[in-house]
């Protein structure tokens, strides 16, 4: 049997809640999938949607975006602003037919080490089931082939 697909997943998390939550998962030795690597931001409000696009372009199969629960933001309202942008960004992606299931948004507090662990595992499973994000990765190739075929046809 062929070995199972191991998705690459990038997690964009805020320093004060989710990053600390991930640390807690560590200190309490909670084991979880190796597929997710964290990039640390001061606040979810700092997370630029372009970074998500770049992550996909560079081969991410899935993305986790996570920060403080509403009203717990270290900067009082960064996560509220982030949430609004996500709402708009998601509806744009959806309108473009982009597979929004590849992005998991979540609130994970500094006390929710176990939530972080299960979030990582669930996301990994979900993305593994979906398979590699070839839809995006192969865009340029497909375009090339299509134009090529058209040229041949002419």
């Amino acid at each position: 049997m062929s070995e199972q697909f191991e998705p690459k997943i990038v997690a964009f998390v805020c320093n004060w809640c989710t990053y600390a939550g991930a640390d807690l998962a560590g200190t309490s030795r909670t084991k979880y999938a190796t597929n997710v690597s964290i990039i640390r931001f001061p606040c979810t409000g700092r997370i630029d949607f372009m970074l998500l696009m770049k992550a996909f372009e560079n081969g991410a199969d899935g993305i986790i975006v996570s920060g403080c629960h509403p009203n717990d933001c270290h900067y009082t309202s960064g996560n509220f602003h982030a949430r609004r942008r996500w709402i708009v960004f998601r509806s744009l992606l959806d309108f473009m037919g982009f597979d929004t299931d590849r992005i998991t948004f979540s609130w994970v507090s500094a006390a929710e080490g176990t939530k972080w662990a299960s979030l990582v595992n669930e996301t990994t499973e979900k993305i593994r089931a979906k398979g590699a994000f070839t839809e995006f990765k192969n865009l340029d190739l497909e375009t090339f082939n299509r134009l090529h075929d058209e040229a041949i046809a002419k």
Binding site: F49, M50, M53, K54, E57, P70, N71, S77, F80, H81, R83, R84, R85, W86, I87, V88, F89, R90, S91, L92, L93, D94, F95, M96, G97, F98, D99, T104, F105, S106, W107, L119, E135, F136, L139, D140, E142, T143, R146, L147
Partner: protein, 267 residues
């Protein structure tokens, strides 16, 4: 037509304006923008329903800014641009005289932005039937079909940035798409890069675009890019009840929030 020309001539004579941005007939009888600086040339001015172009975009040109006293004519979409730009502090240093021609073919010269607001709010435009149809079709498609549709559209984009050049809301002196430190978007026009460019453009215009549709009209390879922002505005209005180019005071949907904003998509 005569009425318009006389009124504009008047504006020149009493020194209200030193530059008039309007339309004239090109040789092919298509209306094209024209810039008039002396009363004697006003007979070049025309204004017909075909004059769809959004002249507000020229207000960012340094020559126009320098002219200071500027007259500008346009349809509701253009007026909405003026409102939106005012709310974004972009027209501070221009003494503008705003002119439009209403359905009854009367020339209206607005005394101030409040009047412009009132007029816009009274004649707030619907989406064109064509756009409505397209949006419906797209929304009716399955996700995969939409992805297919757009990736094919974007695959032919040549990154000429005409969509940006024609947009009155794209006034940044330097655009992120050209930034190379860091290099956000590939210079060459590959589909992924093109998709990123159009995503970014749509996000930057979401909640600011005033639906003039120029970007779609101008695209040399016929990508209906205006649908992206049109859809965004629809969603934003539905979600947050914010209208663009509606009032100089009404804020920007994406620099504010409500504690109760929906979040059922967040785990």
């Amino acid at each position: 037509m005569k009425q318009l020309q006389n009124k504009v001539a008047e504006l020149f004579d009493n020194g209200t304006i030193s530059l008039m941005i309007g339309f004239q007939n090109a040789l092919n009888k298509q209306p094209v923008p024209c810039f008039i600086t002396v009363a004697s040339q006003v007979e070049r001015l025309i204004y017909t329903p075909e004059c769809k172009g959004n002249l507000a975009v020229y207000l960012h040109k340094i020559e126009v800014k320098q002219a200071k006293k500027v007259g500008i004519i346009g349809n509701v979409a253009t007026l909405r641009s003026l409102i939106q730009l005012t709310s974004e502090n972009q027209l501070g240093d221009i003494e503008k005289t705003v002119i439009t021609v209403n359905a009854q073919n009367e020339v209206i010269i607005f005394a101030n932005m409040d009047e412009v607001e009132a007029y816009v709010q009274a004649n707030f435009p619907e989406y064109t039937d064509e756009d409505k149809k397209l949006l419906e079709q797209l929304n009716a498609m399955s996700r995969a079909e939409r992805w297919q549709y757009w990736s094919e559209q974007f695959s032919v984009c040549v990154k000429c940035y005409a969509c940006r050049a024609v947009c009155p809301m794209c006034y940044c002196p330097s655009c992120t798409v050209e930034s190379n430190q860091p290099q956000w978007i590939k210079v060459s026009s590959e589909t992924t890069g093109n998709l990123e460019w159009h995503t970014m453009r749509a996000m930057h215009l979401a909640g600011r675009c005033i639906n003039c549709g120029e970007c779609g009209r101008i695209c040399p390879v016929g990508i209906p890019v205006h649908l992206l922002t049109a859809q965004m505005n629809k969603d934003i209005e539905a979600e947050f009840g914010a209208k663009t180019g509606f009032s100089c005071k009404s804020g920007y949907a994406l620099n504010t929030f409500k504690p109760g904003d929906k979040e059922q998509f967040i785990k």
